[in-house]
């Protein structure tokens, strides 16, 4: 009843091609943005910002990155974690080489390095497909992880072998380092994630986005329609790795403050892959929903029993979290293999015809 598009006529192709052609969607988006930019900063406590919102946004961005490669271009990747690591190490090197440069610029530039590395590991995708390609990206994962440990130059020869984020200011606000307020970090992360998500939505509705989907849906037909497979796939690898790189850099600069190579291990790759698949392959909104589910649910499971005064041993909660997350993944795959994004569409469809069942 509330979600009805009847009566909304488009008089130009421009209006028809807008990101949210339907009024209700535009309102919904506006509400989400108001919540993100006004309500949450006004009411949330530090724990909510640092342990829920910031990681959620970082993961959502990484999930967008992987979604471009896997969801839109159809190339399965298990190396997301390592590509994020490349971004993190690049950003770290950049900030130590150019200590006076704006740290946010450095974070955005660091993605270029992971884009380059991503493109290199994307090269075999011309000949290799599906699960076989997954092995290529696994090679990237393990090889890059090894590099993070074995090339001391990357971490400035720190005895600890880890990268530590120095304090940097911008416009009088401390944005990185331990003194940076959660709220400042939250705004930086929110702006970067929302900005990149918007820009990617643009790419995805245009020629390049279509050429990725062509490759995904039927690569041979795409080639016969004039899409150059190598160039298109490499571009997907590069764009995807760029975004993952930025997410990885944000992960250490605005969230963790310090990172060891093991922070970018295969587990991180899986975490992101879960988010993409549960959220819905080929959906930007799905990346956010998937990230919310995979990140926030375990946090809830971990801390809610304590808040309710239920006393459970810490490890039991952890075990339960694993079991519940695993079971829910299977459950959601069975309920709707196309992820939350499709569930959301179904819900919208139901609202559209409500109160009639069809």
């Amino acid at each position: 009843m509330f979600y009805r598009e009847a009566g909304q006529f488009k008089t130009s192709y421009k209006a028809d091609q807008a990101l949210f052609p339907i009024l209700q969607d535009r309102i919904g988006m506006a509400v989400i943005l108001i919540i993100a930019f006004v309500v949450i900063p006004a009411f949330a406590n530090d724990f909510f910002l640092t342990s829920i919102m910031i990681p959620f946004l970082v993961f959502a961005l990484a999930a967008i990155g992987l979604n471009i490669l896997t969801g839109y271009c159809g190339q399965l990747s298990l190396g997301t974690g390592a590509f994020m690591g490349v971004g993190a190490y690049a950003a770290y090197k950049l900030t130590s080489i150019f200590p006076d440069a704006n740290v946010i610029v450095m974070v955005l530039v660091s993605g270029v390095f992971s884009a380059a590395i991503g493109a290199v590991f994307g090269l075999p995708s011309l000949r290799i497909k599906g699960l076989y390609l997954a092995v290529t990206t696994l090679a990237a994962q393990f090889f890059l992880e090894w590099c993070f440990i074995r090339i001391p130059w990357l971490y400035n020869y720190n005895a600890s072998g880890a990268i530590e984020v120095p304090r940097r200011e911008m416009f009088g606000f401390i944005v990185t380092g331990a003194e940076a307020l959660p709220i400042t970090r939250y705004f930086v992360v929110l702006c970067i994630t929302a900005g990149i998500a918007y820009l990617m939505a643009n790419v995805l509705r245009g020629r390049i986005g279509r050429s990725w989907m062509m490759i995904r849906d039927m690569d041979i037909a795409a080639e016969l329609m004039g899409v150059r497979p190598l160039r298109t796939k490499l571009m997907a690898f590069a764009v995807s790795s760029y975004i993952c790189g930025v997410a990885g850099a944000m992960m250490v600069f605005f969230w963790l403050n310090a990172a060891e190579p093991s922070s970018y291990s295969i587990r991180l790759s899986f975490q992101i892959l879960f988010m993409v698949i549960l959220g819905g392959l080929g959906s930007l909104g799905g990346a956010f929903m998937g990230a919310a589910f995979i990140w926030i649910l375990p946090v809830l499971l971990k801390f809610v029993p304590g808040l309710l005064g239920i006393d459970i041993a810490a490890e039991t909660v952890e075990h339960a979290t694993f079991m519940i997350v695993g079971a829910l993944i299977i459950f959601f795959l069975i309920a709707e293999p196309h992820g939350f994004a499709r569930l959301w569409q179904i819900a919208k469809q139901k609202l559209r015809v409500w109160p009639f069942p069809y």
Binding site: F47, G161, E164, A178, P261, S262, I296, L300, V304, I346
Partner: protein, 443 residues
Amino acid sequence: MRDFKQLAIGAAVAVGVGLTGVMAPAAQAQDSNYVPLLTYRTGPYAGSGIHIANGMHDYLKMLNERDGGIGGVKLELEECETGYNAQKGVECYEATKGKGALVYNPYSTGITLQLIPKASVDKIPVLSMGYGLSAAADGNVFPWVFNVPDTYWDGASVVIKYIGQQEGGLENLKGKKIGYIFLDAGYGREPIPLLEQLAEKYGFELLQYAVPGAEMQNQSSQWLNVRRDRPDYMVMWGWGAMNPTAIKEAVKIRFPMDKFIGVWWSAGDDDAAAGGDGAKGYKAMNFSGVGSDFPALADIQEHVIDAGLSSTDAASVGGTLYNRGVLNSVIIAEGIRTAQELTGKKVITGEDMRMGLEALDLDEARLEELGLKGFAHPMKVTCEDHAGSHPVFIQQWNGEKWQQASDWIEPMTDLVRPLLEAAAKEYAEKNAPWPARTEPCPN
């Protein structure tokens, strides 16, 4: 299938509702001292983590049960599971710091490094007992971080000193080959600069064998290399599942076990037991008591374990890692007690705790008073020196349990201290602007 979908949507709504719960601010405890314990009883390093967690928990719990806490104020304990995972470590920190946390013991180099810069901002000290960042021993640069009783560099110097003793003097190390097998992470790499320096000084050859984290349980290549190189001694910096695997492999290639020496984190009972009979003779450094023959441990047995207040398996009390956890808690408890004495307050804050730890003086008499005579070397923290470079002993596995195999050995402080200070300076420079110490050391 339709029902499934409705259920799925329902579940999503439930998650949303739960979220609002987390947003509510956590209640602050006022009548107790709050000590969060970042532990890991799951994940690949759980094998070592569980014993530590039990030890830490049980001693503090015992103080609550037996003495009603410290200074008449109960301790509020909360375990938070990190799984040795940096992401969850930060999460635990953020979740607990608002409740008036007094001190953090991350038991993971990665999490420690994340907390070090935060410590001075949030004014909560980090106690990384015998791990973490070695440079943190410099209290001038790191007023909020404590790594008593020793740093890895202290440990590395003790191993070399001990090997020197075995060979009848450090000068006899010339021309010897010493192998170093380590977990390929910051933890295992940290001692290398010192070992290299010692190698140069005493003329032995240092051979390095890195074990990647993912290959912890697959070390046959490293040990084949050991077999080829035939080092005279092997030194190990391992953790978690790496330890038992390494010991098994050493047995397999018939390496003389009494020439195989682990760091204090490679000193678990399970680690050595995994090697079976062949592991007899394996040595490891240690700075916490061997065995359960201490009055305080008996109290734990009585007040905590027998009372069913702990998940500890009674047989594991007195194990090296369990005792390590106990020692960690002793330092926490003594820190709190000292802080209470210094400030006159019963319920203290993180800042008070820092003062308490900095004035920590665990002497022979106090240890005896605690029912832990001989459990640890007397240790003292000063404002400048947060590690103290205390003596360490070597213990040996007799096939069933650990036995002390050497006297307390002093680290080569003269060599280590300048390194520590240089490293601290370097850290501060790299992380410029590093906050300066706010309250100067009383000289």
